[in-house]
Symmetry: none
Subunit: 249 residues, 2 copies
Amino acid sequence: MLKEERQQILLNEVELHNRILLTDIAESLDVSIDTIRRDVKELDAENKLKKVHGGAISLGFTNSNSRNTNIYALEEKVIIAQKAVTLLKDGAVIFIDGGTTCMELVRLIPDNLNLTCFTISLPVAMELSHKPNVTVISIGGQISKEAQISIGANAIHNLSEIRVDYSFIGTGYVDAVYGLTEFDWDIVQVKKAVIKAAKKTVLLSISEKLNSQHRYKTCDINTINTMITELEPSDRMLEVFRNCDIRIL
Amino acid sequence: MLKEERQQILLNEVELHNRILLTDIAESLDVSIDTIRRDVKELDAENKLKKVHGGAISLGFTNSNSRNTNIYALEEKVIIAQKAVTLLKDGAVIFIDGGTTCMELVRLIPDNLNLTCFTISLPVAMELSHKPNVTVISIGGQISKEAQISIGANAIHNLSEIRVDYSFIGTGYVDAVYGLTEFDWDIVQVKKAVIKAAKKTVLLSISEKLNSQHRYKTCDINTINTMITELEPSDRMLEVFRNCDIRIL
DNA sequence: ATATATTTTGCTGTTTTTTGCAATTTTAAA
DNA sequence: TTTAAAATTGCAAAAAACAGCAAAATATAT
């Protein structure tokens, strides 16, 4: 295999998942980890990606949620997404939030599934548009440069005029007592509108975010109808949430 | 075997597989590896492929795979985009259409320029969101899978409520007599709304599209205030347009 | 046709690049 | 703090590139 090939595969993987683990790539390409490490170092020097401890992340991703995002959590997010797709019924009308976990959900939507999807996220809309049987409706508004989602009064107004079966949302922080919270005020406002626009709200959150909180509150925990984490529903970490009238997958 | 023959086989292989290994080719053509090495060196010098350690890769290898930049008529589109950026004034409020030519315009927007940009295109919105001093507003609506732009009643309604200084638009076909035309009815409707929303409309079009027409009409040619092609304004191909009260760049 | 020049090709030894390994240092998580 | 994973460094083996040379093939001139 040519070096260029390998590096191209690296870039594709980074672009696809926003992040890679050196060990995973080394194993799947059957080369030593040192080789991958050197490749990543070169690509970083060429400004094609950003090297981080243990892996690499895409450039567009560096400034966005760097502190909020753990490159190791890819597997967890895929597990969550796999659970979430089981909720999708043919012909459903749903909303999909931005964020990497929701993005994994979108990638796992089977090609034969008929859906109508609303979203505020530009990357999600782009990815959805490749699904042949999904009708995509983008919610317009001012674009948040960090999150690449529509925010502001216009987005909220547009959301006020729709009603979907399910909303699949992410959150910055979640806690049984303080509910869903965010770092950013504008994002909270949009999320509130998203929740209001849905008959049922499904929260996708890696366990790492459980029992954490921040400045601004999106909603109480019992506003959420279903919570999906990568943990087993019986995990004792989820005990506090089990008393909140939430279905846990 | 003739040298030219061998080099043509090399190029075909590169085109077909995007990459070749010198050892493989040498073996399958039953010549020494040095010969292949020399061939590749020549072809590289002629810019027919790119020589790398151990083999060769096709010229578009790095670009085409990572970014989906359509290299078709790229040169011309960059020239057009360069002319278009000169129209951008600090603090302007503009609309940018979808399409590869408009995408090039976005890429050339200088980082220090303050702008407010409306767009119906998902890729344009994504690219714009990387510009630090550009406020991006995405016009929502149903997403056209082919064009990756918002179409439909909602998009048109949203456009009806804005008024920008300049609209930069592309078109499928343009003709002095038949005006701007498209293959797709829905896209025509959105473009009409875009033009209505702008004080001045700037058409970006490669010369290849001049004097071509299709089924559905967006607008008359004199609705356009400025037309930008990659040709010199004095080019005789533009003569027919010069009588239409259009500024030609 | 013959001799000469030019190009092409394969071979040899040398240099460079790539890659994997081991020892050590650094980093980050418990 | 402790500990495990990851990064770094130096090194050596293997693969590839390179330069120079000579033989073979082709072209050109006499």
